[in-house]
Structure formats: structure tokens, C-alpha cells
């Protein structure tokens, strides 16, 4: 058996996200990674914000005032869009990973994107007009 190294290639990490000249499957994969990173970042921020509850009602209420800022709402919309894409594409990957609809993986991705975009628009209208 050949000796096998198993070191992550971190010297050119930006190539992990390099989708130039690549096809839809790779775009889907990279977007899946980016949305995962975004959602993890959001989770961390969410926990920090919840932590302000321990500082008393004034601290939390002042944060809630900040959350009404349009820039903040836009950030929340990005979270919704990322969650929609990541969840739906996760279903696509789950299906194809077990041999279902492999020849239609591109078409499935178009459906995923369509639902994610339409869903994000609906959420955007709802969030900015509330």
C-alpha cells in the first residue's frame, strides 16, 4: 500500500473558492461552502447578542433598536438567503449522493436557485415593509 499524506492544502487556500472555468456543480459546491461559513459566523454573532440578556433589559433593548436599522435588516436577509440556499442545496446533494437524479443534478440546482431567489425576495418584501 502506498504511503498517503493527508495534509490540507492551505498554501493556496483561495483556490478552494476559485470557480473560474468550472461548471455548475463546482459553483454549487463553493456557494454551499460560503453559505456554511456565513451561517456559522451568524450563529456566533447570534450567541453574542443573546449574551447581552445577561447585562440587563437596557442592554438588550438598545440592541433591538439597532436591529431596526435597514443595514441590519439587510444582513438578516442575507442570513435567510444563505439558509434557504444551503438547506435546499443540501437536499440536492443528499439526493445525488445516494444515486437519485444524478443525470439531473444541474437541473436540480436551477430549481434550488429559483426557490432560494424567490424565497429571498418574498422575505425581503416582508422584512422591509413590516
Amino acid at each position: 500500500m502506498s504511503e498517503r499524506e493527508n495534509k490540507p492544502n492551505t498554501s493556496n487556500w483561495f483556490m478552494w473558492f476559485d470557480v473560474r472555468h468550472r461548471d455548475i456543480g463546482d459553483w454549487a459546491f463553493v456557494l454551499h461552502r460560503l453559505t456554511a461559513l456565513g451561517l456559522v459566523l451568524y450563529l456566533g454573532m447570534h450567541l453574542i447578542v443573546l449574551g447581552t440578556l445577561t447585562l440587563g433589559p437596557d442592554a438588550f433593548n438598545s440592541f433591538i433598536d439597532l436591529a431596526h436599522n435597514p443595514l441590519f435588516i439587510f444582513g438578516e436577509l442575507l442570513v435567510v438567503a444563505a439558509a434557504l440556499y444551503h438547506g435546499l442545496n443540501g437536499l440536492r446533494v443528499g439526493l445525488t449522493s445516494f444515486g437519485v437524479a444524478i443525470p439531473y443534478q444541474k437541473q436540480l440546482w436551477y430549481v434550488v436557485m429559483a426557490i432560494a431567489v424567490i424565497g429571498s425576495i418574498i422575505f425581503a418584501i416582508s422584512m422591509f415593509t413590516a
Binding site: 500500500m1 493527508n6 490540507p8 463546482d26 446533494v93 445516494f98
Partner: protein, 242 residues
Amino acid sequence: MSTSKWDVTFLVYRKKGQGTPHYDEFTIKVNPDEYVLDAIERIWAYQDRSLVFAHACHHSTCGACGMRVNGVEKLTCITLIRDVTADGGKVKVDPLRNFPIISDLTVDMGVLYTRMDEVGHRPVLPLSEEPAEPGVKPVKIAAEGDIIRLADCIECGLCISACPIANTTSGYLGPAVLAGALQHGLDSDQHLFSLVEGENGVWRCHSAFECTEVCPSYVEPAGKIMELRKQVIWKRIFGIAK
């Protein structure tokens, strides 16, 4: 067949030993219905005899001339120039990714060949044994055993170069090797089963499908990996590969 010549500039990746990688430009007249490999051979023959590249059969059977043409993995012997550029245009030629570069456009694919041997991939096999496609049982034929064929996979390495996971983890077996493992079958070989279900096996694939996109032999490695996953689960639950 077109008779008018095109002026095309080839940007060719160069690297010798520990030297700094760079691109050399070669502008040549080509027939657009020639192949990229023809142009590279002409550059070598008439402009720079120090250019190192690999090739052999010129008809997509040996798998030696794999390179990245404008960033996409191609067998250069079957890649028409008119399909990758226009008159007065440029063609960028790079070596395959995820393999050590020997010199210029030539890479060391030893690790691929070693792993193909490790999983028992046979380049020639009885006609009935190569699965036509994932999930399809091989067709029984009367003269089984007498008729042999070349396996679909020509071990060109294009799928390894295109795979984003091979790009991030050198230990990942890679699409061609996992497809080779499916050809061998999991039932008879416990070592192979351990290898395939291990940390660098089928579960490392993230379904980017780039391997299937670039495969010149229609092996559909991504589909084979998914089929292998089903077999791994089946064997785990019922003790035999489905």
C-alpha cells in the same frame, strides 16, 4: 475542413526544476480544425525544443496529453483549436493540477497509477464486467470470457485535476481511483472496502461533479462514487455489496 489559417497566440506554462513558473508566448499560424496538441508539437518543433510535454497515441486512448486549456482539463489531442479560441485569439495551456510538475506541461501521475493498482483496477477486462452505468447490471453475453475490452477509464488524470477535493486534500483517493474500485467490486476484498469507506474514500467527495464534466471517456466518475456509496452502506448493513 477549413483551409484558412488563424493567427493564434499560445500562452504556455513553463517551469524547469526549482525555477520560477512563468508563461511563454508563442504566436503561430494554425488551421482551426487542428488540435491543440498539434499546435504544441509545432511550437516544440519550430520554436522551442526545450518545451516538455507528454503525448503518445493522438486519438484519446493513451491519456497522456491531458492539460488545462484555458483553465479547463482537456485531452489536447481531441481538443479542436476552433473550440477554444478565435482568429487572433489566445490559448492558455497549463499542466494538470493536483500532481507534482516534472517540467513545463508534464506532471508526475505516479500516485494515480499506484492507487489504481491498489484498488485493483484492470485496464483490460471481459466485456461483461464493466458496468455500463451506475445501477445497471452488466449484460450477460454468450461468449463471456472470450471477448475483452479496454476499460473506459484511460487513467488520464483529468478528473483528479478538476476535483476541488483533490485540490484541498492530497490523500483523497480521487474520482478515477474510486471508479476503479467500483469496477473491481467490494465483496471480495476487505482491504479495498476499508480503503473506500475510509476518511479518504467515497465520503470525502462533495458532489461538485467536475470529474464527470471533464472526463473524456464518459466514465462518469461522480456517478460511480455515488454507486460505491450505496454499496458501502449495503455491505455495512447486510454484509454484502449490493
